[in-house]
Symmetry: C2
Subunit: 217 residues, 2 copies
């Protein structure tokens, strides 16, 4: 029984890693579509999100099934509950990657972001992709050093997020309303993507320590 | 044992109703602070969000404790898992009410939204408050008719959300970049608030039918 349970937990972990890998591809393609105005890549991200949604759904069903059959307690129980939380966050990260791709599609063939902000969004996108890759590694290895790195990268994204507002609200901003809207939404999506990664990192920390850490705002 | 468990489930339900009531007050005050540029009301919402966060945290601890001690199966298990999901959504709704209040505070003593959009945001706010009230009732009664009403009100909020973008991107828009940013973010927050209510309504539907419904994007 115990051995079966351990095998099922590994299955849960494998599925989280798979989901995270899908999210990684999605944000990588979304940020490239966004930065390069590549509409076919954007379409690919948008079409691919349903795969992440169904992976989340089937992982949730598996986790609930394990709770019912195995009746885990203590750390084992926390692993399964955390898996439900992590799956929900990964699903949202997929949605946010899709939203970034949608912005690129809406504005095509125009570039979605004016020249003056391109390097900022390039850096935000690169950080989101790096965070997604580290998240996959963290889910594989539970190496808390990676959780720390994700938090640091999220801090940098928060700085960039603030800098986008400074730019848009500054005296030298020449963008039209459409540029202002796009920059506002795109910055918010990039920032929320990283927030969810931090929430997942906290969940993994919860597994390691048993201290429940609330999701951040 | 069974009776104790039923009592614990009622405790979970009562706590969800309490949380939802806090969210209801929060969005009511946030939208009033936002529409009337009432900075002290905004401060109250911002300070009050930690109460919702700790309610979520303690509810999650209770739910996990029930899973460990009572080892529920079938519908009982689904109730406890749904409670975890609902608590996470209510916590986010509290965050979004806080974000709306923050916008009012940032722009004080200026009004946060230009005249031409005030009636739109007034309607969005009224709908969000109505949705929050219905959510509390739904959590009390599990009356699926209320879930239907919440979905309809969410559809109307989605229309208003689109109309904000139409206004901001239209030829007659005279707002400065700061107005465009505020309208974009405020509209997004109002819309996401309602989305979470719909997600919770789906979770309650899941309890009633046993069909897992994924969270929407």
């Amino acid at each position: 029984m115990r051995e079966v349970f351990q095998q099922e937990l590994r299955e849960v972990q494998d599925r989280l890693v798979e989901m995270s890998t899908l999210v990684e591809f999605s944000i990588d393609n979304a940020t490239r579509a966004f930065n390069e105005s590549d509409v076919s890549l954007a379409e690919k991200v948008i079409a691919g999100d349903s795969r992440i949604d169904s992976a989340a759904k089937s992982l949730d069903e598996l986790a609930i099934d394990i709770l019912a059959r195995q009746q885990p307690v203590a750390r084992d129980l926390r692993i399964v509950v955390s898996a439900l939380r992590i799956s929900a966050s990964l699903e949202r990260m997929g949605d946010l990657a899709e939203h970034i791709a949608q912005l690129a599609r809406y504005r095509f063939p125009e570039k979605v972001i004016p020249k003056s902000l391109r390097s900022t969004f390039h850096e935000m996108g690169t950080l989101d992709v790096a965070i997604a890759k580290k998240l996959t590694e963290l889910l594989k290895s539970e190496d808390v050093k990676l959780a720390e790195e994700i938090r640091n990268e999220d801090d940098r994204i928060d700085e960039l997020h603030v800098s986008v507002f400074d730019a848009v609200l500054g005296e030298t901003w020449k963008g039209a309303a459409v540029d202002t809207v796009d920059a506002t939404l795109a910055s918010r999506y990039h920032e929320r993507f990283a927030d969810h990664a931090v929430t997942i990192a906290k969940n993994i920390q919860y597994l390691a320590t048993g201290n429940l850490v609330g999701s951040d705002s």
